[in-house]
Symmetry: C3
Subunit: 247 residues, 3 copies
C-alpha cells in the first residue's frame, strides 16, 4: 500500500469538489475541515438540485444524522449519479439503530453499494444485522466487536467498511488495516466523525478506495494529535461520548 | 436545596442522552456544550422519527427559533412521549412575540406543560400574556419586570419558569431563586442561551426540577465566567444584544 | 464619500435588526459576526413567518446556498416587504451557475431589484449572463474579469453590485470603488463571505448604499487583517478555495 503521505499529496493536487448531504450539526465543521485538508466542499441537499449538482462533484458524502424523507431521496439520486460516473461516495449511517426511518433509509443506501461505509462500532454492527437492539448509542461496543460485521458488510456491498474508534478498522472484506492515530479529545468535539467522511471521500478520488480510506484515517488522526497538543480546554469527563455525532 | 455541585455530579453519573429539537444556529454549539458538561446530545427533528427517538432519550429540549409546521408537530409528539414517560423537557419560546406562527406554536407547547420554560424577560412576559407588543426583541425588559410573569406562567403550567438575564430568576410559582453568575460576554456569543436549555434538561434527569434548574444556571454561569477569563476578543459594543438567540 | 469609520459609527448607533435567510453552513458564523459588528441578527426562513418577521427588521439578507422551493418563496416575500418599506436587502447568488434551480431562483430575486448583490467573480458573471458555463466554481475568474458584468447588472437592477475577491469591486453602474483590504486566510474559513452580507445590510440601513457597501467591505477586510495577526493555524494549501461558501 502507498504511503499515506502520497495519498494526501495526490488528493491536494486534485483539490476535489466534495458534495456533502450531511447533518446540520456537522455542516460548518465539515466545510472547514475539507478546506483545511485541501479539498473544496459544497453542501447541497435540496431534491430540486442535488442530483444535478452531483454531476459537477468529484465525490459525495451522505450522512443520515438529520435526514428527512426528501433528503433521503436526494441522497439516493446523488449516489446514483456518482455510481453512473464511477466516482466515489461515502455513507455514514448515523444512529442507524435508533429509529425505523434510519434503518429503512440506510438499507436503501446500502443497496446502492457505497464506495465506503464509515460508522462507529454499534452502527456497523446494526447495519450488518448483527445486533437488533443497537439504538444509536455505541457505549458498549468496541471496534474489535464490529470487525466481523465490517467484513460481512464489505462482502455484501463490494465496498470498503471503516469502523471508527480508538483504533480504527478498515476492510474490503478480504484485507484489513488498523489505524491507531487520533486523540481522546477528538470524540469530545462534535461533528469530527462526520467531517472525516469528507476527507475519506476526497482521498478516494482517483485512488484505490482501501488504501485511500486507510490513509485518510491516518491523516485525520495525525491532524487530531497535532491539534490536541495546543488544545487548552479540558474534557469534562473521562467517559467516552456515546452518540454518533459526538465521535 | 442541594448544592449545585451535587446536582452536577449526579448529572455526570447519569450522562443523560438529551434529545434536542433546536434551531439551526444553535445545534453545533449546543452539542459541544452538552458533551463538555458531561451529557450526550442528539439533534433529531424529522416528524418521521422524532417521537420514536424520544423514547430513547432521558430528556428533551424544544426551541422554536427556526421551527416550521413539521418541526412543530415533531416537538409536540416528542414532548408527549416525555410526559408519558415522566421524563423532563425544556421549552424555549425564542422570539415568541415576533410572529403569529411562534405564538400559536408556543401556546400548543405550553398546553403540554413543559417541565421547564426558559426564556428572556420579553419572551416570558409575552408568553404570560402580559405584553402584547413584545416582538422578539428584549431590549427594554429587565428580568425583574418578568418575575411576576414567570410566577403566573409557572402556576399555569405547574412547571418551572426560568428568566435569563444578568441575574437569572427561577420559580415554581411558589418559591423563587436568583442566580447572579455569568459574564457580560455571554450574550455576545450566539446560541449560548439556547445551549443552556440542554444543560437544564440534563440536570433535571432524576432530580427535582426547581433545584436542578437553579443548579444548571449556576453551573453554566460559572462556566461562562471561567471561559471569559481567557477570552481574548473584545465585544464590539457595550450594548446588550437584543435578539433571543444572541443571549 | 464618507469615511468608512463614520458609516460604522452610524450603523452601531442604529444597532439594526438584520433578518437573514441564509444557508445552514453560515448561520452561526453570521450571527456571531453581526453581534461582533454591533448589529442584531435573526435567522428566520419558514414561509409561515418570514414575511411577517421582515416587517420588524431594519434590513434583510437572502442567500441561496442551501435554499429549497419553500425558502425561495420566503425570500421573495420577505424581499417584497423590504421593498415596500424602503428598507435595504442584500442578495448573495451562491453557486448560481451550478444548477437550474439556483438560476431560476436568482432570476426571480433579481427581478425584485436587490439593494445590493454580492458575489464572487464567477457568480456575478453568471448572473449577468456573460458566462453560461460557470457552475458555482470561481477558480478561473478574476474580480477584474467580472467588473463589466457588475456594471451591467447594476444598471439592470438599479442597485449596487459588489464582487468579492483579493481586491473587491463595488459599483452602482456609474461610479466604482475598489477595496484592497482583507487577508488570504479569509477565504480559508467557511462562511466568512456569507457573513459579510449581513454586515453590508447593516451598514446600508439609513445610509447611501454605494458608500455603505464600500465601507462595509473595508471594515470587514480590516477585521480580517486584525484577526489574521493572531491566527495560529496554517492554511493547508496556497490554492485559493473555489466554492462560494468558502470565500
Amino acid at each position: 500500500m502507498d504511503e499515506p503521505g502520497s495519498c494526501l499529496a495526490r488528493m491536494r493536487e486534485t483539490a476535489p469538489l466534495v458534495h456533502n448531504i450531511t447533518n446540520f450539526v456537522a455542516m460548518a465543521v465539515m466545510a472547514n475541515v475539507l478546506i483545511a485538508a485541501g479539498a473544496s466542499p459544497a453542501m447541497v441537499h435540496a431534491r430540486e438540485e442535488a442530483a444535478e449538482f452531483a454531476t459537477l462533484a468529484h465525490a459525495l458524502t451522505v450522512n443520515i444524522g438529520t435526514a428527512d424523507p426528501d433528503w433521503g431521496t436526494a441522497m439516493e439520486e446523488a449516489a446514483a449519479v456518482m455510481n453512473g460516473a464511477g466516482r466515489p461516495w461515502v455513507f455514514d449511517p448515523v444512529g442507524v439503530g435508533a429509529t425505523r426511518f434510519r434503518q429503512a433509509l440506510s438499507e436503501r443506501l446500502i443497496a446502492l453499494r457505497p464506495t465506503v461505509i464509515r460508522g462507529n462500532a454499534s452502527e456497523i454492527r446494526a447495519l450488518a444485522g448483527l445486533e437488533g437492539a443497537a439504538r444509536g448509542v455505541d457505549a458498549g461496543d468496541s471496534v474489535e466487536a464490529a470487525a466481523e460485521a465490517a467484513r460481512l458488510l464489505a462482502c455484501r456491498t463490494g465496498g470498503i467498511v471503516a469502523v471508527s474508534g480508538p483504533v480504527d478498522y478498515v476492510t474490503d472484506g478480504k484485507e484489513a488495516y488498523r489505524v491507531a492515530n487520533g486523540h481522546p479529545l477528538m470524540p469530545r468535539v462534535t461533528a469530527l466523525g462526520c467531517a472525516l467522511n469528507g476527507v475519506i471521500a476526497a482521498f478516494c478520488v482517483g485512488q484505490p478506495a482501501l488504501a485511500a480510506t486507510t490513509a485518510a484515517l491516518a491523516f485525520y488522526g495525525l491532524a487530531g494529535e497535532t491539534a490536541a497538543r495546543s488544545a487548552r480546554g479540558r474534557a469534562a469527563s473521562s467517559r467516552p461520548s456515546s452518540m454518533p455525532w459526538q465521535r
